[in-house]
């Protein structure tokens, strides 16, 4: 089984590697790119802890091979934070609204919500709680009961425009 050379733009910088075709994107991000925010939670495409942006859309990085992302852009939670460590609006909203407890699911939740929040900020449109809950319906959190997560996303839409 031949290895493939890939170059993936991860958080704005190219990351290259010769990988087995069977390597999942989440493992590339963790083992090759050295990032810890994409988590391997359920291994069955259910929990969403591995959610990242592929180009600009949220996907589950445990359900796509690294070779498929060759030549494309991937953004992880690390890519939302400014170089000076300044948090993005959405990250800050999670912090302020206490939208996390143990934090395991948080990177995935934020990356799943990010394109949704951005679309609403760009359109200058509101999102009701049902729409917010639908947007993060592919992400499981076992601590918060989601109430503060929903509040954080709602606040980010208000604060981000």
């Amino acid at each position: 089984m031949t290895n493939r050379s890939v170059e993936i733009g991860v958080n704005g910088a190219p990351v290259t590697g010769a990988v087995e075709p069977r390597m999942l994107l989440v493992h590339f991000l963790r083992l090759v790119a050295g990032l810890s925010s994409p988590r391997v939670g359920c291994d069955t495409s259910s929990c969403g802890a591995c959610t990242v942006l592929l180009d600009d859309e949220n996907v589950k990085s445990c359900t796509i091979f690294a070779v498929q992302a060759d030549g494309r852009r991937v953004t992880t939670l690390e890519g939302l934070t400014g170089a000076d460590g300044r948090l993005s609006v959405l990250q800050k909203a999670f912090w302020v609204a206490h939208g996390l407890q143990c934090g395991y699911c948080t990177p995935g939740l934020i990356m799943a919500a990010y394109p949704f929040v951005r679309r609403h900020c760009l359109d200058d449109s509101q999102a009701d709680d049902d729409e917010i809950r639908e947007a993060i319906s592919g992400n499981l959190c076992r601590c918060t009961g989601y109430v503060n997560v929903v509040a954080a996303i709602r606040d980010a839409i208000h604060g981000g425009r």
Binding site: M1, T2, N3, R4, G17, A18, V19, E20, P21, R22, M23, L24, H27, L31, V32, V40, D43, T44, S45, S46, G48, T51, L54, E57, N58, V59, K60, C62, T63, I64, F65, V67, Q68, A112, F116, E134, A135, S137, G138, N139
Partner: protein, 298 residues
């Protein structure tokens, strides 16, 4: 690279940039375990669990020609690489085919729908998938391209058995074609599931045509209650000639529940499913009636 934490069995990977290139590869490897990858949202989980361990994976994602989503002359053409989320966000599609929007919205979750394809939902041949019933109700066709050229297969003849379709080993599903819906006709899809991401306990696609409040044609197709999508013509045709009332719909639902071979499984007993079929059928037909009577093909 490292052999750490990589779950699928090893395979050789091919990412052709044209359909003929992909077909050539499939033809030269007939008899071997080759899988075609589109969205991968069913196949990759199966590979991770090693229920599928193909020797070769032919990834269609670099074939630009398969990305088109066109509405022309009333026909909707969905290329094999069109994602569920594209269908979900297209206002033109929703305006003309509300049932497609409705179906895509109940599939998995938004992150999965950003990769999952409509074509894959059909080609996978899983009776728990939602588009098969909807496409049968819409009387859609798929285009299969292979060594002998293209052929058009009506979706109603596409599903042969559990994970078994009319596609030949060297054929690729390249496109779905959906005819426009006449103004007197409405369609709706209803699905009951335990939670987001779970398969249907039961799903139903209903199609209803009306003339002055009288049913002139009807179709009912069910998800996840057999090895293939189950089209129950006896129950649907029993509506023809009758007033389109909720009582008539309830009777059709009862007839369908009696005609289906409902089983007990982890998602519910056969008795429970019998009741779900009756209720969902009634709701789907009521929604279809609304869409038929307001003169649109939604």
């Amino acid at each position: 690279m490292c052999g750490v934490a990589v779950y699928p069995a090893a395979f050789d990977y091919l990412d052709p940039t044209s359909v003929p290139e992909a077909i050539d590869f499939l033809q030269s490897h007939e008899g071997e375990d080759v899988k075609v990858l589109a969205g991968g949202q069913s196949l990759i989980p199966l590979m991770r669990l090693r229920f599928a361990r193909p020797s070769y994976l032919v990834d269609l994602n670099r074939i630009r020609a398969l990305r088109s989503l066109n509405l022309e002359g009333g026909w909707l053409q969905i290329g094999a690489l069109v994602r569920e989320s594209e269908l979900e966000r297209s206002r033109e599609v929703r305006q003309r085919f509300e049932i497609l929007y409705e179906t895509t919205r109940v599939i998995a979750d938004p992150s999965v729908r950003n990769l999952a394809t409509v074509g894959g939902n059909l080609a996978h041949g899983d009776p728990a998938n939602d588009h098969p019933a909807t496409m049968m109700a819409l009387d859609a066709s798929v285009v299969a391209d292979g060594p002998q050229g293209e052929r058009v297969i009506p979706v109603r003849q596409f599903f042969l058995g559990l994970f078994e379709t009319a596609l030949e080993p060297a054929e690729i599903l390249t496109e779905i074609r959906i005819p426009s819906v006449p103004p007197d006709t409405g369609l709706a899809y209803r699905k009951l599931k335990r939670q987001v991401g779970d398969f249907a306990i039961v799903g139903v696609a209903a199609r209803l045509s009306l003339t002055s409040g009288i049913v002139s044609d009807a179709h009912l197709v069910y998800t996840n209650v057999g090895a293939t999508p189950q089209r129950i013509e006896s129950a649907a045709q029993g509506l023809v000639g009758h007033q389109a009332t909720e009582e008539a719909f309830w009777s059709a639902g009862t007839a369908a529940a009696n005609a289906l071979e409902l089983r007990d499984d982890i998602r519910g007993s056969s008795l429970y499913r019998h009741r779900v079929v009756r209720a969902l059928t009634t709701r789907a037909l009521c929604a279809a009636r609304e869409r038929a009577s307001d003169g649109g093909d939604r």
